[in-house]
Amino acid sequence: MNITQILVGSLSVITLFSALMVIISRNPVHSVLWLIVTFFSISGHYIVLNAQFLAIVNIIVYAGAIMVLFLFVIMLMNLNRETEPQKNKWLKLAGVLSGGSLLLVIVAALHTGDIKAMAQVKEGDIGLIGTLGKELFSTYVVPFEISSILFLSAMVGAVVIGKKE
């Protein structure tokens, strides 16, 4: 056991715990905060995998932009724990059971296959910004431009939908 494994292990624990807290918390604001913690821990995983660019983009995009939007909306609506009425107990149980059995089935399926591949950690330069940037602006330049158009249309769409008639 080396320091990387300890790091990855503790990050995983944080990731799963905070993700669980997202769906358990009654207060939406707490959910949002736990989700931010989840994103941070996932960024930590990226750093361990030496995907620096994605790690920081993950923080900027998810933690810095998307979650702020969520917070905004929740705060504007003033949602508290009372706003979510209790769901049917049986339906809830069914949800948990089906989600859990899906996990079980796939884990069992993976378990039967003998997978030996290793993921390279702490080294390798494919996750560095220079490498990704060159690829992004040569091979993937068309999808890149298209995604900017997607953004623009999403922005226009959000404004149109959100505007009061």
Binding site: L91, G99, L102, A108, A109
Partner: protein, 631 residues
């Protein structure tokens, strides 16, 4: 060399440009502008064609490869243009005659509204573009594009006066008949590609020369190509559209249905001569179909009273001659006749246009007569055309027709006799037409008599130029008999069309044949002079004349044996099959869907949560099936 001819794409591109400008700007451009654009692009193409011709004569052919048009796995169809001896000759004919006809049209169509005037020139330019593409393509696929293009333009121009229902029907007829031939052509192309692997002329010819085609393959391919050619070049059995195509404006008839489009079939077969030479069966079929067409059309022409119909059947007949020449292996004679025919037939059509113009749209020759005095230039040039087509030395028609007759003689004496009969018929109906129209007394109304006038210069000038060409155009192919080192044309074409081997019948025989045909033709002309110089309108034609006037009832026959049964079969399908089976199926599907959806609606609770739950459960099921139960 290579770099210079790489720009041959300009030749078809310029008319395309003219089409776009005229077509898009037809509502905004004045007539003068349309005329300048329309004629200018063709003139430019013509000049380039001359330039290309000179280059080709000096340095041989060239294939300009531009880009890959179709790439499917190993099959590569390049967009490539080819200029060689054959195509450069055709280029000059198309653009040269085309230019004259464009100029002629500016005056002929002057009564049209500006918008329609622009549409007319746009179509005309598009037609020239398609024809040039057809001729210049370096493979059968590009040729097919042009092939379809000329078919389309023919349809558009025949139906140019689209408010007239009969004209539209004629356009449809031409279109449908062409489609039948095109289908055969298309199958032939597929067949070639399946065998050779691509459709480039060079590769196909090399493949054929190497003898890699099977005997049945080559027969089927050439026959299919021939069927394609009969559609475009109006041969039996697909010829009936051409006389009806006279519904279009007269310059169109001159350009499309005499000088260019109908020769596409000839060009195609001459281009594929390496294939045809391999199949005796096809050659015989081509010969006899050509001969039959020539005679049949000539007999019909004898009794027609519409000035343009006479010329139309004459065209069909002359095309028959060309096919006969092709079938006999005298490819260069056929090409030679294409060229001379382009000159004198364009001349005759334009002359008839001038007559029609003078008569304010009257086309029935029974209502004309004595026009020679008022239309001096027209009648003189028309006479030149008649002499040329009848085949009197030293006019161009003589040399080209004689080359064909000679090759018929070499093959078979009986064939020669029948062909000669056709030639005499040609002389007879052409001079019948000439004498009835231009000599004797005027038989029209007072109004028309008052109105008759010579056409403007822009119409007569092309006539004069074409008359000169009709006289002199044949001199490039003067046979050896008259001039040492003659027959320059076949020598020029020899890289593309191999000179026919075998001993020639000897100069004395050749001279004797020429003398026979010339004397016979002169006799026929004299006969028609006596018969028709004082033509008077008679009653209904009787007996054979009536059959001829009604074109051997071929149209009626087609109607009876093809159109009617098909229509009945169609209505049978409509009543029985459509009503019970198809409708039943459609309605049954609808009912089944609506019933089952009524049952399935119970699942649609409208709750997102339950949908997602169902989705997850299905995923679970799929995974279980995939991983654990499959083995």
């Amino acid at each position: 060399m290579e770099n210079v001819l790489q720009i041959v794409w300009l030749i078809p591109f310029l008319p395309l440009l003219g089409f776009l400008v005229n077509g898009l700007g037809r509502k905004y451009m004045p007539k003068a502008m349309v005329s300048i654009v329309g004629c200018g692009v063709i003139l430019a193409s013509f000049l380039m064609s001359i330039w290309v011709f000179i280059h080709v004569r000096e340095g041989g052919g060239y294939v300009a490869d531009y880009f890959n048009f179709i790439v499917v796995d190993k099959l590569k169809i390049p967009f490539a243009l080819q200029v060689d001896e054959l195509s450069s000759l055709f280029l000059m004919i198309i653009t040269g005659v085309g230019f004259l006809i464009h100029v002629y049209s500016t005056a002929y169509m002057h009564e049209e509204k500006p918008e329609h005037f622009g549409r007319y020139f746009a179509y005309l330019n598009l037609f020239v573009f398609s024809m040039l593409l057809l001729v210049m393509g370096a493979n059968y696929v590009i040729m097919f594009i042009g092939w379809e293009g000329v078919g389309l333009c023919s349809y558009l121009l025949i139906g140019y006066w689209f408010k007239n229902v009969a004209f539209n029907k004629a356009a449809n007829k031409a279109f449908v008949m062409n489609r039948i031939g095109d289908l055969a052509f298309l199958i032939a192309i597929f067949w070639i590609i399946a065998k050779v692997g691509n459709a480039n002329y060079a590769d196909v010819i090399a493949f054929a020369k190497a003898g890699k085609f099977g005997a049945s393959d080559i027969t089927v391919i050439t026959l299919l190509l021939f069927v394609g050619a009969t559609g475009k070049s109006a041969q039996i059995p697909l010829y009936t559209w051409l006389p009806d195509a006279m519904a279009g404006p007269t310059p169109v008839s001159a350009l499309i249905h005499a000088a260019t489009m109908v020769t596409a079939g000839i060009y195609m077969i001459a281009r594929s001569n390496a294939l045809y030479s391999l199949s005796d069966l096809t050659m015989h079929v081509v010969t006899y179909v050509g001969l039959a067409t020539a005679i049949l059309a000539a007999t019909i022409a004898v009794q027609q009273n519409d000035i343009k119909k006479v010329l139309a059947y004459s065209t069909v007949s002359q095309l028959g001659y060309m096919f006969m020449a092709l079938g006999l292996g005298a490819y260069s004679a056929a090409v030679f006749h294409v060229m001379t025919h382009a000159f004198f037939k364009a001349l005759l059509f334009l002359g008839s246009g001038s007559v029609i113009h003078a008569m304010s749209g009257e086309q029935d020759i029974r209502n004309m007569g004595g026009l020679g005095k008022k239309l001096k230039i027209t009648s003189f040039t028309f006479l030149m055309g008649c002499i040329a087509i009848a085949g009197i030395p030293p006019f161009s028609g003589f040399f080209s027709k004689d080359a064909i007759l000679l090759s018929a003689f070499e093959e078979n004496k009986a064939l020669y006799a029948v062909a000669l009969l056709g030639a005499l018929l040609t002389a007879f109906y052409m001079f019948r037409l000439f004498f009835i129209t231009f000599t004797g007394k005027f038989r029209g109304t007072e109004d028309q008599a008052h109105h008759v006038h010579e056409s403007p210069l822009s119409m007569t000038l092309p006539l004069i130029i074409l008359a000169v060409l009709a006289l002199a155009g044949g001199w490039v192919g003067i046979p050896e008999v008259f001039m040492k080192g003659g027959d320059k044309l076949s020598a020029f074409l020899s890289p593309v069309i191999p000179v026919k081997e075998g001993e020639s019948p000897g100069h004395s025989t050749e001279l004797a044949l020429m003398a026979i045909s010339t004397i016979a033709v002169l006799a026929v002309i004299a006969f028609s002079w006596f018969r028709f110089r004082g033509y008077q309108r008679k009653g209904e034609a009787q007996g054979l004349a009536k059959v001829l006037e009604n074109k051997w009832y071929v149209d009626e026959l087609y109607e009876k044996i093809i159109v009617k049964p098909l229509q009945q079969f169609g209505s049978f399908l409509n009543d029985v099959f459509e009503r019970s089976v198809v409708d039943g199926l459609v309605n049954g599907v609808g009912r089944a869907v609506s019933y089952s959806s009524r049952q399935l609606r119970l699942l649609q609770s409208g709750q997102v949560g339950s949908y997602v739950l169902l989705m997850v459960l299905s995923m679970l099921l799929i995974f279980v099936l995939q991983f654990f139960l499959r083995k």
